[in-house]
Amino acid sequence: MSIIKDNSQFFNETGNISRFTFRFFSTGLKPRFEFNEFLAQSYYIGYKSLPLVGLTGFIMGLVLTMQLRPSLLLYGVESQLPVMVGVAIVREIGPVITALIFAGKIGSSIGAELGSMKVTEQIDSMEVSGINPFKYLVSTRIVSTTLMLPILTILSDTISLFGAYIGVNINSVTSFNLFFTQIFQSLSFSDVLPAVIKTFFFGFAVGLVGCYKGFNSNKGTRGVGRAANSAVVLSSVLIFIIDLLAVQITGIMGLN
């Protein structure tokens, strides 16, 4: 019985998220778009996330370099370190780690904020005064996360590569020019473009799940906690699923 109940809950949840997504595309983007709220959200979601994303990006580049170095030394291909780090960061690690950090910070924040507004009847209050809370609260946040994550990822990748450069120079001396020339020579358009495109989907997933969980939160403060928690968990899982699909699609298109 428990398995049947769990399956039923899973399909209900999937159906509800699909309906929520459909509502976003069918009514959430219709005029009048709340541009000021979108700007306010973009400031918080994008600009305010920069220090965290930058710091984790820097550490990611530094640690990756330090971890890869001994293995490459073993095979005598230490000179290929910038290439390996560059490709790994730009194609895979940068977008995924940034998206996961983003899900932890922004997904939970959106889930908790909207969840709290829901249980204190602030969303109902908005609705009964003739203001569409879906457009004002949900659409602005989803559009904002969708557009901000790619920008944050590009910045995080750049800072990561600087971290990697410092990591390389801890044990040997490599010039700045040589390091970045090697990286850019090894990267092609087909490495960068799919990696950037998938971050739009990561951002959309984080915003959508955070808003869905918050907007449908109930059961008081416990519900708010659950909304924040499940927003992070579900969006993290979706990030990996989207990443897997992206790899398959780029493979089919011959871009791998």
Partner: protein, 250 residues
């Protein structure tokens, strides 16, 4: 606008055969109600009897299972999202929890509906509208405070001010005096009457505070077992021999 019974007075709300149940719990069962222009109708009932569900159905927050609801001549079940939003600008709703936006100041709370509906265009107009509603509730000094800094009575009055800023034709009060001390509760009752007189609003007031019922009601409706069990004036209720009516006055 609809012309209904009671000497052809204008009915602003007509609820017919309304049914709503949550799972096996039947909350409203063939409920009927008429509210006429300028009337304060108090809906009495035990806790959990469906009073709040009733007004949430009327404003479209909860979808009824069957029955019809006409508000200001519009059948709300036939309105699309935009039309319903437009109708709602003529309605005010005072939540039991006040539902003030807690991350912005009182000024921003009051300006929010005006700015969203583009009802004002200059800062002077906004300031004037904010001052007017704050003056009505006697809290001009609270304009730059945060909702968390307000006492229960102040928060209730600010919530009322926010309800009034769009100059609604109908106001729904969900237990406006619950949780307040008797003195503050009386102040809220006086404010409800003052607003009715000043703006000629019609109201549905959900309450089981009998002082509130006595002070504010033009008509009292007793909601029992999902139905309109009795209706009349406060005096008629007070003099009623019906045991189910009497228990509210004991």
């Amino acid at each position: 606008m609809m012309k209904e019974s009671e000497n052809d007075r204008e009915a602003v709300i007509v609820v017919s055969h309304l049914c709503k149940q949550f799972g096996d719990n039947v909350v409203l069962n063939d409920f009927n109600l008429e509210v006429f222009k300028g009337d304060n109708v108090v809906v009495l009932g035990k806790s959990g009897s469906g009073k709040s569900v009733l007004i949430k159905c009327i404003v479209g927050l909860i979808k009824p299972d069957s029955g019809s609801i006409h508000v200001l001549g519009e059948d709300i079940s036939k309105l699309n999202e935009e039309e319903l939003d437009k109708l709602r600008t003529k309605l005010g709703f005072l939540f039991q929890s006040n539902a003030l936006y807690d991350s912005i100041t009182i000024r921003d709370n009051l300006e929010f509906p005006l700015l969203r509906h583009h009802l004002v265009f200059t800062q002077d107009q906004i300031d004037s509208a904010v001052s007017e509603v704050l003056e009505n509730v006697g809290l001009q000094y609270a304009v730059d405070m945060m909702p968390s800094e307000l006492s229960g009575g102040m928060a209730k009055r600010i919530a009322l001010a926010r309800t009034l800023i769009l100059k609604p034709e109908i106001i729904f009060y969900d237990e406006p005096t619950t949780g307040l001390d008797p003195v503050t509760a009386r102040e809220i009752d006086v404010l409800i009457l003052k607003m009715k007189k000043k703006y000629n609003t019609s109201s549905i007031i959900i309450s089981h505070d009998m002082n509130c019922v006595r002070d504010t009601a033009d008509k009292v409706v007793l909601l029992l077992d999902g139905k309109c069990y009795a209706q009349g004036t406060y005096t008629e209720f007070l003099e009623s021999a019906d045991i189910k009516v009497k228990q509210f006055f004991e």
